[in-house]
């Protein structure tokens, strides 16, 4: 039952994140217990706020409600190798620098609207670069990697993975079946359920 304990612990960490950052002003101390990544509290909050910007609370729960931000930390800390973690840290710094250059303040100090605007810009840029990279691939010339963009893609990828495999998403938004009990090989499209 270790897994259940782990999940329960994650819920406890989730609780502490909801409380601590608002009342603690110590820049140096991260809240999430990480084994490999060395983040200060500001950097940690950049990731927290970024996941919430990507997946905000709307009429449905957001990243922080569902603990997706913590899942992102856990995945990068546990499942990324040293090189990937170094790239993540480099990217985080460049991402922060890009925000600073544009707004003269940190990502954490932006309003939610400003964060969304900045991230939308990254989305657009990432999409353009994907197209460019695909074109370059066919010409055998890889495009120059943009560290800030790679960082953004990593956080987004893990946010999406955590969300689409979360209990909330797999029970409320789509229905995951552990035991389907059927295989219909010829199933009419028009009968397909919508959830």
């Amino acid at each position: 039952m270790n897994r259940r304990i782990a999940i329960r612990n994650m819920a406890l960490i989730l609780g502490s994140v909801a409380v601590l950052p608002s009342c603690l002003n110590d820049k140096g101390k991260p809240v999430v217990a990480l084994k490999h990544l060395k983040l200060d509290a500001d950097q940690e909050n950049v990731v927290n706020n970024l996941t919430e910007t990507i997946l905000p609370k709307t009429s449905t729960p957001g990243a922080k409600d569902l603990g997706i931000n913590l899942f992102v930390f856990k995945m990068i800390d546990d499942c990324f190798d040293q090189k990937q973690q170094d790239e993540f840290m480099d990217g985080l710094k460049e991402f922060s620098a890009a925000v600073d250059e544009k707004y003269g303040k940190s990502f954490n100090e932006l309003t939610p609207q400003e964060r969304a605007a900045f991230v939308t810009g990254m989305e657009k840029q990432a999409k353009e670069n994907r197209v460019k990279t695909q074109a370059a691939d066919s010409a055998k010339k890889p495009a120059e990697p943009n560290k800030a963009e790679n960082f953004y893609n990593t956080v987004k990828g893990q946010t999406v993975f955590g969300y689409t495999t979360s209990q909330y998403f797999m029970t409320k938004e789509v229905v995951y079946e552990l035991v389907p009990g059927r295989y219909n090989a010829m199933f009419p499209v028009k009968k397909k359920a919508t959830a």
């Binding site: 897994r3 259940r4 990507i54 709307t58 546990d78 495999t165 998403f169 552990l178 009990g181 009419p188």
Partner: protein
């Protein structure tokens, strides 16, 4: 096992010993138990009891700490087994970790192992096809190995025998190259798989796309219910262990059945160090085991020994069983022990799209995985510049067109988009490799494993025949896909090491001539007739069919032979 009284030789004397509790060992134990022989099963790993020891079987994706992903630490510590497709957070407890049981790779070889009761039968992909006379005749016809001492007619009744008990789903397809069996209902092909099947049949002579035959209880019979197994629930989470007993594993089927007979004792944590040979009696009299917990050496005695440790480990046990009579390994008068190892070649894939059949999709999951293309090259005559041939998987699927574009509500909507994609199709090759003397396993003279047993040294590689066959697969499938109107066809070949197909075979091959083979037509060592080897080690050639069903049939047949003939030379 604490309840074994190991002080008394009498208590360590059995009618039969079975080494290994997986696909073939489970069958040997079941048959011996059914026939009333006092039998000891030795398993080097821990016990895995059906239902009780499947810790992840009922977990939802979000209940895994990393939602199914393997951590970097585990990946880095296990570069070999991590390459296996089924090594994930949900099933890694059933795989041997790289450091636990080291071996020597003279050439790169990904040796994927499951050391526990049930062995790899818990983890297999459950595809089950009979061999045909084209396979058993093959070596004699094109001269690539020694002649098999048996033919399809020898083994056909035993295929039927094990199929009825294990439960195999499939259609009677009436193909000479893939004989029909005792089938439960097949899992049907979907719209595009059916379309491709019809197209291939109309366009090509002797090429077929059929429903894959697999070891799932699509509709259980009484004999399956008697085993405590139930209908397959189409979870396709088989590698975690199935709580329904929906697919065949030694854990859900043969081992509990054997234990219920009251004649069979299971001893896990027992690495077999060697089989010992009595020169006066001219036969094997027992085995020496190292208890993996206490490191204590214990000897067990029996009239007959069934060696089913999985192909390469069965080689290891025989190589390490030396005596004055057999200085180079038990039964090794021919000098062929450990040689002529072969495997399957799964290293080419092809994918494409199909624009039709938009009105159809599928619902639920298909445990059979889709279609199967039996070997069609060099079957009736040698028609290519390579020997033998390949089978292929074929499947078609549609998926929900979710995207991760955008942020906020746009992203949330994109992630649950259930608009269906068009049909995608895919295939992978399953090629036969040619047994060669230069592909061998041997004992490493200088390095020992944690139990004091020499490490196995593996020297196995692809050859020119494999390269030609791979090229032909890509060409033929591209042509068949093009002809069927599939578009955006993309073939890919990978550079994996041998072994990752998990179908290593040979080293203790069968044959008519004791000068060029190890085993006779009953799977007995030519030179030591109370030792039977009925796992992958015994394979003279490898065919391109999945081998497990054949091991099961071999094991049941060999036990019958011993029980019928024991005491007679």
């Amino acid at each position: 096992m604490a309840n074994l009284n190991i002080d008394s030789i009498k208590d360590r004397k059995f009618d039969a010993i079975v080494i290994g509790s997986g696909m073939s060992g489970g069958w040997a134990a079941k048959e011996l138990g059914d026939k009333g022989l006092k039998t000891l099963i030795l398993e080097r790993g821990r016990d895995v009891k059906h239902l009780k020891d499947y810790p992840t079987t009922n977990l939802y994706p979000w209940e895994f700490p990393h939602h199914g992903e393997v951590t970097a630490e585990i990946r880095e510590a296990n570069p070999i087994v991590n390459r296996c497709y089924a090594f994930g957070e949900d099933a890694m407890h059933f795989f041997v970790k790289d450091k636990e049981h080291p071996y020597v790779q003279e050439k790169p070889f990904d040796w994927i192992r499951g050391y526990q009761v049930g062995g790899k039968s818990l983890l297999w992909a459950r595809q089950t096809q009979r061999w045909s006379d084209f396979d058993f005749d093959g070596p004699a016809r094109d001269g690539f190995a020694v002649d098999w001492p048996i033919r399809y007619a020898d083994i056909a009744p035993w295929y039927s025998y094990v199929e009825k008990f294990a439960g195999i789903s499939g259609n009677k397809d009436g193909l000479a190259e893939l004989p029909d069996g005792e089938f439960l209902p097949a899992f049907p092909l979907n719209a595009v798989e059916t379309y491709f099947s019809k197209h291939v049949k109309s366009k090509y002579q002797n090429r077929h796309v059929i429903s894959a035959r697999c070891a799932h209880l699509s509709k259980p019979n009484q004999i399956h219910l008697d085993q405590g197994r139930g209908q397959c629930q189409e979870r396709t989470l088989c590698h975690r262990g199935c709580p329904f007993g929906g697919y065949f594993s030694a854990n859900s089927s043969t081992i509990p059945w054997a234990l219920k007979s009251g004649h069979v004792t299971l001893r896990p944590f027992s690495v077999v160090e060697s089989i010992f040979y009595d020169e006066q009696k001219g036969k094997a009299t027992g085995v020496r085991v190292i208890d993996t917990n206490t490191k204590e050496a214990i000897e067990y005695y029996a009239d007959v020994i069934f060696l089913n440790a999985a192909a390469l480990n069965s080689n290891l046990v025989l190589l390490n069983s030396t005596s004055h009579r057999f200085p180079n390994g038990l039964g090794n008068d021919s000098g062929t022990l450990g040689k002529y190892v072969a495997f399957h070649n799964y290293s080419a894939h092809i994918n494409a799209e199909y624009d039709g059949a938009k009105e159809w999709t599928t619902d639920g999951r298909n445990p059979a995985g889709g279609g199967y293309i039996p070997r069609f090259r060099n079957v009736y005559k040698q028609e290519t510049n390579f020997l033998r041939g390949y089978a292929a998987g074929f499947s078609a699927y549609r998926y929900n067109q979710t995207t991760s574009e955008g942020i906020g509500d746009e992203l949330k909507n994109n992630l649950k988009n259930d608009d269906l994609s068009g049909w995608k199709v895919g295939s992978h090759m399953m090629g036969e490799t040619i047994p060669k003397e230069s592909n061998y396993v041997a004992l490493d003279k200088s390095q020992k494993d944690p139990w004091g047993i020499p490490k196995l040294k593996i020297s196995v590689d692809y050859d020119d025949n494999d390269a030609k066959m791979k090229k032909d697969y890509v060409e033929q499938m591209t042509e068949m896909f093009t002809s069927a109107g599939f578009t955006n066809i993309k073939a890919s070949v990978d550079s994996r090491a041998p072994g990752l197909d998990i179908h290593e075979m040979g080293g203790v091959r069968m044959g008519k001539d004791p000068k060029t083979s190890m085993l006779d037509k009953w799977h007995r060592l030519h030179a030591c007739q109370n030792v039977y080897v009925t796992d992958g080690a015994s394979m003279t050639s490898t065919s391109c069919q999945n081998p497990s069903l054949t091991y099961m049939a071999f094991a049941a047949r060999a036990v019958d032979h011993w029980v019928t003939n024991k005491g007679k030379a």
